[in-house]
């Protein structure tokens, strides 16, 4: 597979690898893909009280394009508002990484992972407060 220098750089030394506390109400977690499909991406966002993403972490089991796509997504998410984050398109990721045609779907998976993480965060925000312990 002929990958761009950026993909190779991200694969060699990816920033933002890790785990945020899933139970933290300020954290949104999205996991997409499956072992059957050969790619699994988990994307997480940490959102502050002003609705801005202050941190983002990822873990990916997948090919070079999958790792690079998820990694780039975390970089692009940091500092964005929730609306700006929703606007991140797979085509932008694919373009920046110069993904070859057979690997475009990895950027699609990353966009879906972003959506899943944001959905998870917003679901937590709108959930009723837990009942006080007896």
């Amino acid at each position: 597979m002929l990958y761009s220098d950026l993909v190779l750089k991200l694969v060699e030394n990816p920033p933002n690898v890790g785990t945020l506390d899933e139970k933290d109400p300020h954290v949104g977690t999205g996991t997409v893909g499956s072992p059957a499909c050969g790619d699994i991406m988990r994307l997480q966002v940490q959102v502050d009280d002003d609705g801005r993403i202050v941190d983002s972490k990822f873990k990916t089991m997948g090919c070079g394009a999958a790792i690079a796509s998820a990694c780039l997504a975390t970089e692009r998410l940091k500092g964005k508002t929730l609306d700006e984050a929703r606007a991140i398109k797979n085509s932008a990721i694919a373009k920046e990484l110069e993904l070859p045609p057979p690997k475009i779907h990895c950027s699609v998976l990353a966009e879906q992972a972003i959506a899943a993480a944001l959905d998870d965060y917003q679901k937590k925000q709108s959930a009723p407060a837990p009942a006080a312990a007896p």
């Binding site: 597979m1 694969v11 999205g30 996991t31 059957a36 050969g38 991406m41 990916t60 090919c63």
Partner: protein, 409 residues
């Protein structure tokens, strides 16, 4: 130490300098066509070919006129399978082979199936060995050929050649073995093992590419085989075409060197392979050895690394070590290894497999470097793997409901 360190010797070997030396004069001074009987150029070439033929025959326990030179083991397999099937058309139309064979055996068989033959493809046990009782049951009065490789190219597993040969002899069926990976690494005796046809390849034994041989038994019984390449009638009509004299000379020299050194060289290589195996298995968890643990080629190690993906593994190791993988992404046809699939290895473990294959030139330093790099890369990819994290937490992955948007792969 060269980088990347070359550990893909089952794919091909570097030529031994002594082999190259033996070949050179047949490119330069003694360049004659071995079929040119009328002058000294041809006669000299012919003499070299016949000397090589005797030497290679002796290496197999055969006689010279039973050795046919070809362009490689793929061609030899094609002649053996198609040629024997054609010659025995009247007697029967059934062939038997097994699922972990090289495509150079499976594809000729598939082609025969399209042209009026029946083919039984036997499964193997989890280590890749054919079950003798299944083979016995598969043989019918219409069976004309059994083709089972001596050693597997991906997992290194050795077949029980003598037992298979004895069974075939007993049932009056011809036995062909693709010995491309085994020749030069294990002792082969076509007489003792009741082998009727055998394919071997030059570039697997530190010889040149583009040369191979087909052994065709001419006594007890006389094996009838048709040619698939028509022309000047060379090689007793079995393979027309001007002989690759330098290649033949090189092949014979390479084989001589292998056979002379085998009893000391193979144990030494096995030790280095075991050093590699220990280096990986002692320090990395969740590994799976593919192939028979003991009955396998001394230079072969095929390992699956759970919870990581094959292409990213190869990508990270590309500049450090040269190996093969069972991953679809790294194959020409974008299909995962059929050998691992035949063993029942799941796709997740098949795609994250690496095949290491050593040579006489491999050093301990190279092995230690390979171990170090693989450990580092696997640790890095495991740290990045959500699956590994879940497994470490004791989550039963088979019960997880995945959010799979379903895209083409």
């Amino acid at each position: 130490m060269n980088r990347p360190v070359y550990l893909d010797n089952n794919a091909t070997t570097p030529i031994d300098p002594r082999v190259l030396e033996a070949m050179m004069q047949y490119f330069t001074e003694h360049f004659g066509n071995a079929a040119s009987k009328t002058h000294v150029y041809g006669q000299r070439a012919r003499a070299a070919v016949e000397t090589a033929r005797e030497s290679l025959a002796a290496a197999l326990g055969a006689v010279a006129k039973e050795i046919v030179f070809t362009s490689g083991a793929t061609e030899s397999n094609n002649i053996a399978i198609k040629g024997v099937a054609a010659a025995h058309r009247q007697r029967g139309n059934h062939l038997i082979t097994q699922a972990t064979e090289h495509k150079a055996v499976l594809d000729p068989c598939a082609w025969l199936e399209k042209h009026g033959h029946r083919v039984t493809v036997l499964g193997t046990d989890a280590s890749g060995q054919v079950r003798l009782d299944e083979l016995a049951e598969a043989i019918t009065p219409e069976t004309v050929l059994v083709s089972i490789m001596a050693a597997n190219n991906e997992i290194g597993t050795l077949q029980h050649l003598a037992e298979i040969g004895a069974l075939c002899r007993e049932r009056g069926v011809l036995f062909h073995t693709d010995a491309a990976q085994a020749f030069g690494k294990i002792h082969l005796d076509v007489k003792a093992m009741n082998i009727d046809l055998l394919s071997a390849s030059g570039h697997k034994v530190y010889g040149p590419k583009g040369i191979g041989l087909l052994y065709v038994r001419r006594r007890d019984p006389y094996v009838r085989c048709e040619t698939i390449i028509h022309g000047g009638g060379h090689e007793l009509g079995l393979r027309s075409g001007t002989l690759n004299v330098p290649g033949i000379v090189g092949f014979a020299r390479a084989a001589e060197l292998c056979l002379d050194a085998m009893d000391t060289e193979m144990p030494r290589i096995a030790e280095l392979r075991d050093r590699l195996q220990r280096g990986l298995f002692d320090h990395i968890d969740e590994l799976k050895l593919n192939g028979h643990p003991t009955e396998r080629l001394a230079n072969n190690l095929n390992v699956s690394f759970a919870y990581i993906e094959g292409e990213s593994l190869m990508l990270n190791l590309e500049n450090d070590i040269a190996v093969s993988s069972g991953s679809a992404c790294t194959s020409e046809l974008l299909k995962p290894s059929h050998v691992l699939a035949a063993l029942g290895v799941g796709e997740d473990l098949a795609q994250s497999s690496l095949r290491f294959s050593l040579s006489r030139f491999t050093t301990a330093e190279e092995i230690d470097y390979a171990v170090d790099r693989v450990r580092t890369v696997v640790a890095k990819l495991r740290e990045m793997s959500p699956l590994y994290e879940m497994a470490q937490q004791g989550i039963d992955l088979s019960k997880v409901e995945w959010n799979d948007p379903g895209h083409p792969h």
